[in-house]
């Protein structure tokens, strides 16, 4: 009841006088949130003295308004007195409090006595330790979930291979259309631009020592081996991986996945497998298209900026690039697709009840799949180097 009445100067809110066996306090005015700041200071000042006093009497007769904040502060004062009560010789009394206010006080006291009891178990050290522990457990759980999903997909694939009739072809084709066909324009544009930029930078810097022809080698090898597949994989992770997570996540939120399970269908087989198959088929195609677009962009820049005719560019490219370079790039594509698909589905299944968790998991899905794609690329680089490809 924050009534804005009873404006008493702050000092008058709580005064105390020492009597022979303790402290007598007199409260007045409005014990509400509007006075809480001043009141808290007075209460804390008085608590020091009260902790040593034997008897405490608080006269609340002149209190005109009293709310939860006032009740909490009064309770704090009483608690300070009670804390020092080791010998059981102490007594405290609140007199003159209006009946409707005393109901509130007793309710607050009841609530607070429970609070202090349980709060003791929440130490700061314990909290931070628990935080670190849960972070470590989370990482381990993520890794496990990823491996489990690989296993589940492998198992589902085996079952589908045994019973080819149960393959969800329509679904796979639908997803191939979305992640493959519909992605072609943006993938082509981006890779074209990147190819052009690499060529321009190559020509600009190689020209200083008269080696601008080698810009073609740079473009060819870099695009076919690394940039083409990596760029496309990152684009697909951002474009389709996030879509997978959001779709599966919202299905999880609305209990659609549970509904599937109760109908005796395996969500991995029905939802995950077609998506992953679409991605594994789509990404190599996109990589191929992207690589060609990048080479095309490089050639265009070489012609317009470097003054190299298209015929020379193609001839030079033929010398610089072997099928091996192309193979190295293309071999990586399906593995990266698998990684993106699995991460996206794992994150999608992790979505909990709230819309916020859907957003969190979608972000996590993109970040993780890009990280893992780059990690995978590094591992492949080491692998190909060691087998001399």
């Amino acid at each position: 009841m924050p009534m804005r009445i009873g404006v008493v100067s702050a000092k008058l809110l709580l005064r105390s006088t020492a009597v022979d066996n303790g402290i007598e306090a007199t409260a007045a005015g409005s014990w509400t949130v509007s006075q809480a700041q001043a009141l808290e200071q007075l209460v804390d000042e008085m608590s020091v003295g009260v902790a040593k006093a034997r008897a405490l009497t608080i006269d609340m007769r002149d209190v005109t308004a009293f709310d939860t904040f006032g009740a909490c502060l009064l309770d704090r004062l009483l608690a300070a007195h009670a804390d020092g009560n080791v010998d059981g010789q102490r007594s405290a009394s609140v007199i003159g409090l209006q009946e409707r206010f005393s109901i509130l006080l007793s309710e607050v006291q009841r609530a607070n006595s429970k609070a202090t009891l349980e709060a003791q178990f929440n130490g700061r050290l314990r909290k931070s330790f628990r935080y670190i522990l849960s972070a470590v457990v989370d990482v381990a759980e993520d890794a496990l979930a990823l491996i489990a999903m690989f296993g589940a997909i492998g198992y589902a694939l085996l079952r589908v291979l045994v019973r080819p009739g149960s393959v969800r072809l329509t679904s796979a084709v639908h997803h191939l259309d979305r992640v493959g066909w519909q992605a072609i324009p943006i993938i082509t544009l981006i890779t074209f631009l990147i190819g052009a930029i690499i060529a321009q930078q190559g020509i600009f810097h190689f020209r200083k020592f008269g080696a601008d022809d080698y810009a073609v080698d740079l473009v060819g090898i870099l695009v076919l081996r690394e940039i083409g597949v990596l760029l496309v994989a990152i684009m697909v992770a951002g474009r389709s991986g996030s879509a997978y997570t959001a779709e599966l996540g919202s299905m999880k939120m609305r209990e659609e996945i549970d509904a599937l399970c109760t109908m005796g269908l395996d969500p991995i087989e029905v939802l995950v497998l077609p998506r992953v198959i679409a991605l594994v088929c789509g990404l190599p195609i996109l990589t191929f298209i992207g690589s060609i677009a990048a080479l095309y962009g490089g050639g265009l820049v070489a012609w317009l900026y470097g003054g190299m005719s298209p015929a020379v560019y193609v001839a030079r490219l033929r010398d610089a690039v072997t099928v091996t370079h192309f193979e190295v790039g293309m071999i990586k594509a399906p593995f990266m697709a698998l990684m993106i698909g699995v991460v996206a589905c794992v994150e999608g299944f992790k979505v909990q009840g709230s819309a916020e968790s859907l957003g969190l998991q979608t972000t996590a899905s993109v970040v993780r799949s890009i990280f893992l794609v780059i990690l995978l690329d590094g591992l492949f680089a080491m692998f190909f180097a060691s087998i001399g490809m």
């Binding site: 924050p2 949130v33 904040f69 309710e107 607070n112 709060a119 929440n122 709230s354 916020e356």
Partner: protein
Amino acid sequence: MEDSASQVVIRVRDLIVGFDDRIVLDHLSLELRRGEVLGVVGASGGGKSVLLRTILGLLPKRAGKIEIMGMERDNTTLDQLRRLEQRWGILFQQGALFSSLTARQNIEFPMREYFHISDALRKEVAMTKLQMVGLSAGDADKFPAQLSGGMTKRVALARALALDPEIVFLDEPTSGLDPIAAGEFDALIQTLQKTLGLTVFMVTHDLDSLSTVCDRIAALADGKIAVAGPLATILACEHPWVKEYFQGKRGHKKLDPLH
């Protein structure tokens, strides 16, 4: 007469609210008196929530007057409105807890915005409110996503009470709760109403809540208040919809012992 008039905290007169060409509330008049618990019932989609949202100012009205604590909605300045908003608390149907804040932070949020008090006191009061609505200290650091339906309602109630309001609006407080939890929630509302001297405006479907908690009931039918008064008045009402609602099969079972 003069005295009883001053006891009216919300007065709605000839309120008309509609969307496009559909009139939802048609010349509706209603009073909420200080210290009472008013239950508003009505058919699903009949305009209960629209009434609540119009009083709160979330929906525009076409005509009519809404007077809250002596201030007419149309004639208040923004500043007055802000001060008015500190004097009421609202429990939304789904809780409407801020999902990025923990339970305790949710309760502290309005206090942090409006009150200049120390962090320690704010935390202390927030914990007290949390205990008052029947939650334990261990729930304080949980996020809304980790709370069950009943706990969400309790935290939302604690947040509605954060500023020690005079009026509390409850939008279907017991919906989605099992009968035992709903009964506990009713008892909680009753206790808090007595302890804090609240005036409660409750939109509900729950016949149990209506019969146990509410001092007065207002039945909304055809965009108007068909009847308002204590349960006995409502049961005696001859309006067909009200009769069906309270005397129908489901209503009969629950309210029979009161006859």
